[in-house]
Symmetry: C2
Subunit: 319 residues, 2 copies
């Protein structure tokens, strides 16, 4: 049985057809193009899906269901995208709209949850019962799987671990609180610190790497400067990892999950990120014994496609 | 069918016989007496249980199982108390030892989890699927119920929400980290702040209420002084509630539970505690809509007995 997965992001629409074990048989993507109406994006989602079916020489009859992963607030039961920061999908019934275009059962889910499902089905957290997927990018999102199922609370919208305050009265967060984990451990937070430091220390490699054009500094710039031995950058990275670890230890203490998986852009740093984190966590978790596996996501951007596709399988099994 | 519940605390051994709906039919308690050997305490637990059976005119045949709630680290599957701060129960097999004394199935569970079960079975969180019970006393513990079942992670010992850092590099915590929620929102934290303030401001009512014997100040003293209009005490209580709210908002954002129940000594403050907390939570939760019910535990100390007793019912249903 085949499943169609769509990972709708602010930048790209990524689509794939997946077998029941989560293997991607064919995939493609197209730019989302910010500011477009939901209708146009939905048209592209359907068109890309049909293109993939043609490529694989299958029809709707061969596909069990469509799953869509998307950012922002959703109502899974009603199939509605309530609010998405980077998309004009406000109160859009994704399920109804997709079914107008392709006559198949359709399910939606938060994108971080989809990535968690993907890594659980055929990635680094294969077979784990309890796991937390952390996606570090513009924001810091979490997908939580408990007893093998996505957990997002009694009213949906749970799993907002990025909006766990770790520094009361600290940095302003986009959510209105101060000191959220996201304000210290997202890629945006690292970028902010890199830009502040470059302005303050024009002799640093952070400044050099962008030829003094501070607006070009992103999270990777700071990691790159640290790799070159720049002391300012090393200090920022050390602080960044320290704050990232604070939130991770909190989650281990609360959830004692089998695995915490780190995805999103920052995870490209691999062992440079994971090794110091493991060292801190081993010392800091409650009881002093780190049993949780801490690792980098292995499916990369495919996790979203696989997890979205698997929504069809999960929902079929639950009925 | 009847169930026997034992709530083993650092101060008292509380025991009750409970019907299958969680109603306590008969109960009694005896002082734990710190420093005694586990054997002696286990003898008292069994003796008290037998006394209750006599009182109710029932025998072992009428009782389905015994449940024991206890603090500290436990291994539920093996029935072992691994480590308890205030008791000499290190690597004591509670289940085996109880069964030597009373020949009935026996189950153990963390005390905060027992209280969560109790409030869920017949208290303020009756019928809720997802709830968090917070017990505020010497420490700050949490019992988490997800999808109707106790959740304590893949390795046991989860739910340590008190050891969620909310002020990175803040107050020292007994767990070795700095800035844990427990170090700001436990009764001990409030007592600490009360004593510091009394030493600094001998004109304050906090100082008056203990006739200058600062060692007599506890959490209640600070609340009492605030009730009398003492400005120093009011400021401490405001800060205390602010920090308590920081952790509660974090938990709402992560769990979106149906209910958060506040138990332990501090909950005696009732609306004086709950009303300002609700006000802060309503403003601060992610998305700006507080759907979680925030309330004071209604079973008081009985929650532990009821929850422990219900372990037998829960385990029977799961087999």
């Amino acid at each position: 049985m085949l499943y169609l997965g769509i990972d709708l992001g602010g930048t790209n629409i990524s689509t794939g057809i997946v077998d029941e074990n989560g293997n991607i048989l064919v995939k493609a993507s197209t730019p989302t193009i910010k500011g477009r109406d939901a209708e146009d994006i939905l048209d592209d989602m359907a068109e890309l899906s049909k293109k993939l079916m043609n490529e694989l020489n299958v029809t709707e009859k061969d596909i069990e269901a469509i799953g869509v992963g998307l950012p922002g607030m959703i109502d899974k039961k009603k199939g509605i995208s309530i609010y998405a920061n980077n998309l004009k999908f406000n109160n859009t019934n994704i399920v109804e709209e997709m079914q107008k275009r392709i006559d198949l059962p359709c399910y939606i889910e938060n994108d971080a949850n989809c990535a968690a499902i993907g890594e659980n089905v055929c990635g680094v957290a294969y077979g784990n019962e309890n796991l937390i997927y952390i996606t570090i990018g513009t924001g810091l999102g979490a997908g939580i799987i408990i007893n093998g199922k996505v957990f997002d609370g009694s009213f949906g919208g749970g799993g907002e671990a990025g909006h766990m305050v770790i520094v009361a009265e600290g940095e302003e967060c986009t959510c209105g609180r101060k000191g959220c984990w996201e304000a210290y451990a997202s890629a945006s937070a690292l970028r902010r610190e890199g830009r502040i430091a470059a302005a303050k220390y024009p002799n640093s490699k952070i400044y050099d790497l962008v030829d003094g054009n501070i607006k070009l500094i992103d999270a990777k710039t700071v990691f790159d400067a640290a790799d070159l031995g720049d002391e300012v950058a090393i200090e920022i990275i050390d602080m960044y990892i320290k704050y990232l670890a604070v939130g991770l230890v909190n989650l281990v203490n609360i959830f004692q999950p089998e695995a915490i998986i780190i995805g999103g852009g920052v995870c490209a740093q691999g062992d440079k990120l994971i090794n110091p984190l493991k060292e801190i966590l081993s010392k800091r978790v409650y009881g002093g014994q780190l049993k949780t596996k801490l690792c980098i996501a292995t499916l990369g951007n495919d996790a979203g496609i696989v997890g979205a596709a698997m929504l069809g399988k999960i929902n079929r099994e639950e009925i």
